[in-house]
Amino acid sequence: MNAIEIRNLTKTFREKRAVDGLSMTVPQGAIYGFIGENGSGKSTTEKLICGLIQPSGGEIKLFGKDHRDQGVRSQIGVLIEAPGCFPNYTVWNNMKLQAANLGLKHEDEEIRRVLHLVRMDGAASNKFKNCSLGMKQRIGIAFALLGNPALLVLDEPINGLDADGMRIMREILLGLSRRGTTVLISSHILGELEKIATHYGIIRNGKMLREMTAEELNANCPTYVALKTDDMEKAQAILQRAFGRADMDKQTGEIRVYNVYAEDVAKYLFGNFGIAVSEIRTAKISLEEYYINLMQEGRK
């Protein structure tokens, strides 16, 4: 069964279509990286899933049931934009409210557990407004984890987190995924997302541009050899003829040749044409690069 199934979802704000016939499928237990430019409709889609705004059309199913079903809704943990906490209350009191809202039996134990998970044990007595941005994000995640939800909806949860915070977040999400929790996570920090996501959905102008698994992304992101020589123009022309494709990376000033071995390229250039390679490395197209290319293609 899929954790989230969306068909032809639309949301119109006055004349603007924020979500435009979007369809997406998030399998149960997946960590689904939801990617898109600012204003592409990610947050709106997440709010629609959580029932915080009403769709103009389409269908949202969570675990096979309508997203308005009370039984299903009680299984969602959410962090959208900023954590919904009362600024003048302590972290503990804020969490007690949410624990009561969820109807948890052992509130104190559960609050201590989730605060410990996000390494915020010591912040319980702090007023929420006095917490730093990073602390607030972690507390927001602790909020979302209360009651062990089956589905986590996280909108930009790693924003404001330091390196340690990101590592902790990664560990938590991977641990949850292993236990069968489904995570829908949107983020602009694609390098971080790439480390954890099992599925991806790329959204543009409210429409789903591409949905794929991490394996499919891997297949779409070839390895390449990046090199520098003393005669770049000549080398590029030779490599283009020999290997079919050799791109000049304007940012790094390197020539890129795809799906080849570094040793073969260096030997070929020097052995046949006497062109010495000064620098050479093997790399792989990252999610970020793939995403940027996809967006540029879309614009064209």
Partner: protein, 262 residues
């Protein structure tokens, strides 16, 4: 220990929502401020008006002021409100305070973003409306009770008469008057609650709307809840208040269900 959320039936859901609102009520400084104002306000009004006195600026005649402590609770006869100080500065002022408090209490849910946590796990908005109405009604009842106590203290300090018959009322009538007033507060609670769900993050809008609605209803209060209230007044308020609240509660429920919450 990990535990999953209990979804429950209507009763259980309402119970958990009431627990949330009761907790908020007791941890919110505004509640204690409102209760303190309710207690202190009648003391200040009775003591200051008795000691200062004054003249009507238009006629130059001595202004009508408090002669009996019960005037701070209401006026007998059930006539429409007159414009003297005893009619303007009495327990009926609390209705405005109740309206402001409702807007603050509900508006805070939206302004802090707490509604995201609340409504993500709660698809039935009726629980929210019902729980808010009950909790805010209880708080307003507390405010009316404290005002009553404050009036007794203020009257004692100002040396006002406690003679019930002198103001054309009876002890039973005053009890009935207080019961009527407390239940009439449900009208203000539900109006402010509905406007707060319309205004959401825009607290100023819900407060202004509630005060404007309160001004329209203000002249009705002395007629509905006179000092010598009888069974009819009590029945009208005890039944009418909840019926009015149920009607506007339905409207609030529809607003929350059909509009964006964030």
């Amino acid at each position: 220990m990990n535990e999953n959320v209990k979804t429950g039936d209507f009763g259980k859901r309402l119970k958990t929502m009431l627990k949330v609102d009761a907790r908020r009520m007791f941890t919110m400084p505004a509640v204690y401020i409102m209760l303190a104002i309710s207690l202190v306000l009648p003391v200040l009004i009775l003591v200051m008006t008795s000691f200062i006195g004054g003249a009507d600026p238009t006629t130059g005649e001595a202004a009508a002021t408090f002669t009996s402590v019960w005037q701070a609770i209401g006026s007998a006869g059930g006539n429409a409100m007159s414009m003297d100080i005893t009619s303007m500065c009495n327990i009926n002022l609390l209705y405005f305070l109740v309206a402001i408090f409702v807007c603050l209490f509900v508006g805070d849910d939206f302004r802090s973003g707490y509604v995201k946590n609340l409504f993500t796990v709660r698809s039935k908005k009726l629980d929210y409306v019902l729980s808010k109405t009950i909790v805010l009604f209880a708080a307003s009842a507390g405010m009316f009770l404290l005002y009553f106590i404050g009036a007794m203290i203020g009257g004692g300090i100002a040396g006002l008469s406690f003679d019930v018959a002198a103001v054309g009322a009876s002890a039973g009538g005053i009890v009935a008057c207080m019961i009527s007033k407390v239940f009439f507060a449900l009208v203000f609670v539900s109006i402010a609650l509905t406007l707060a769900t319309v205004g959401k993050q825009k607290l100023w809008l819900s407060i202004l709307g509630s005060l404007a609605a309160g001004m329209l209803l203000f002249t009705m209060i002395p007629m509905m809840t006179p000092l010598n209230a009888g069974a009819l007044n009590v029945i009208l308020c005890v039944l009418g208040g909840p019926i009015f609240a149920a009607g506007l509660g339905t409207v609030s429920n529809v607003i929350l269900s059909k509009t964006s919450l964030v």
